[in-house]
Symmetry: C2
């Protein structure tokens, strides 16, 4: 059983305060993650670490630069956050190791991201907890662009043929226009109207893009908030279940 879990940047950092951790939330998340006995790959987002420099340089998954110093500003901010996440995980007993996508991935001209996952697989085999993060990535068409945590989750889950995917976000799931959690999504059209009005849009894609990516996976994915993280890690499907692949076909 292999799980790929993303911790949203807005969960573990204070979004308005540059390079500031949401200490209590990070600690709760780290405690929950460190207690998982099965294979787990963690990916975290950028929050108030990576987004400010990315915005300053106008970098996104579709806007790049040939300026290495600009790329490094974003990378260094994300490594700083990654160091903090690793430290907190180790405080809770997890043998956590970093995976920096800039060193392992490429965004192809087709816009898809490929990531060499042999190190992640070997880390899992040896009992380590690999911790990747949103980052800059070398881009065949754009020099260096942003790779979002959401993109990495999808690519890693696909490459590892993961069994489960979870996105721990700032909201308890995909919300409809009345603010209620949509329990299950089998196709994007059914919730497009609600998602179009989401306030979650940021430089690395909002909720609609998350759902679109997750529907393309062969495995079920859950979107939930920090209060539901322990339940997800215990095997439940809190929040919104995005039923990609076989499940989507079955219900069609």
């Amino acid at each position: 059983m292999t799980t790929v879990l993303k911790l949203g940047g807005s969960v573990i950092t204070r979004k308005g305060e540059r390079e500031t951790l949401a200490e209590d939330a990070l600690d709760r998340a780290a405690a929950a993650v460190a207690s998982v006995p099965e294979d787990l790959v963690l990916v975290h987002g950028a929050g108030s670490f990576g987004h400010p420099p990315a915005d300053e340089y106008d970098l996104s998954p579709t806007a790049g630069t040939d300026d290495a110093a600009a790329a490094l500003d974003v990378h260094d901010a994300m490594c700083l956050l990654n160091d903090a996440v690793l430290a907190r995980l180790q405080d809770h007993g997890a043998e956590a190791l970093p995976v920096h996508p800039l060193s392992a991935g490429v965004r192809r001209s087709s816009d898809s991201v490929t990531l060499a996952t042999a190190p992640i697989e070997t880390m899992l085999e040896r009992g380590f907890l690999p911790v990747a993060h949103g980052d800059v990535i070398v881009d065949e068409a754009r020099g260096v662009s942003i790779v979002s945590g959401d993109e990495l989750v999808v690519e890693i889950a696909r490459s590892l043929q993961a069994d489960r995917v979870g996105l721990c976000s700032a909201v308890p799931g995909v919300l409809d226009q009345d603010g209620a959690v949509v329990p299950r999504i089998d196709e994007l059209d059914a919730v497009a109207a609600a998602l179009g009005g989401s306030a979650e849009t940021d430089v690395t894609g909002g909720m609609a893009e998350k759902v679109r990516s997750l529907l393309g996976l062969d495995v079920p994915a859950s979107i939930f908030d920090l209060d539901a993280l322990a339940a997800f890690l215990a095997g439940e499907s809190p929040g919104t279940l995005v039923a990609g692949g076989p499940e989507a076909n079955r219900s069609a």
Copy 2:
């Protein structure tokens, strides 16, 4: 024309003083490297940054650990040195980007190191200067072990089918028992006696191991010191030429 160049840790750091740069030497090396118009991959060694924590935890290419905190101590020290090398290269106008082997490589049970070089290749295509470094690496048999800069040079040169390899070291080449530079080595046996007495041995292998690895390459490799770096980058073969592959066969 693709060149893979290693800057020895003993060239760019002060070996007796922990985490201390050899500022002038690093600046000279960075200036020379930044002036190269052709494709160049830089790899640097550990020196007084990576070696002390590696020694403390008894880590080497053949001795590993399952303790992620120990691995991270070495990794963080090497990232600190890498940051300094990148900064100096950027001061001289190079668009330098980091490549962290922990995120991209695996030491197989056979002891060989495999590194995903697609990011390096794309960096070169886009005009960036990739800068890798000795590091910790996940190890199928040992948890995490050390990967030396010398090992990375050989693996990267092989994977990229590089045209030239250079090792910029603290000595002007392979020295014979009288301290004179051996101009050319076609096989290890011819110089084994002299190499056996080398004082250069350290945790990541001494001169004999360097020569053995370089002889296995299909391309000529030069070992020289900082005074000869500009000449090497200009296309000359200063110091000792280790004539691996076809050249070794031709002279045999």
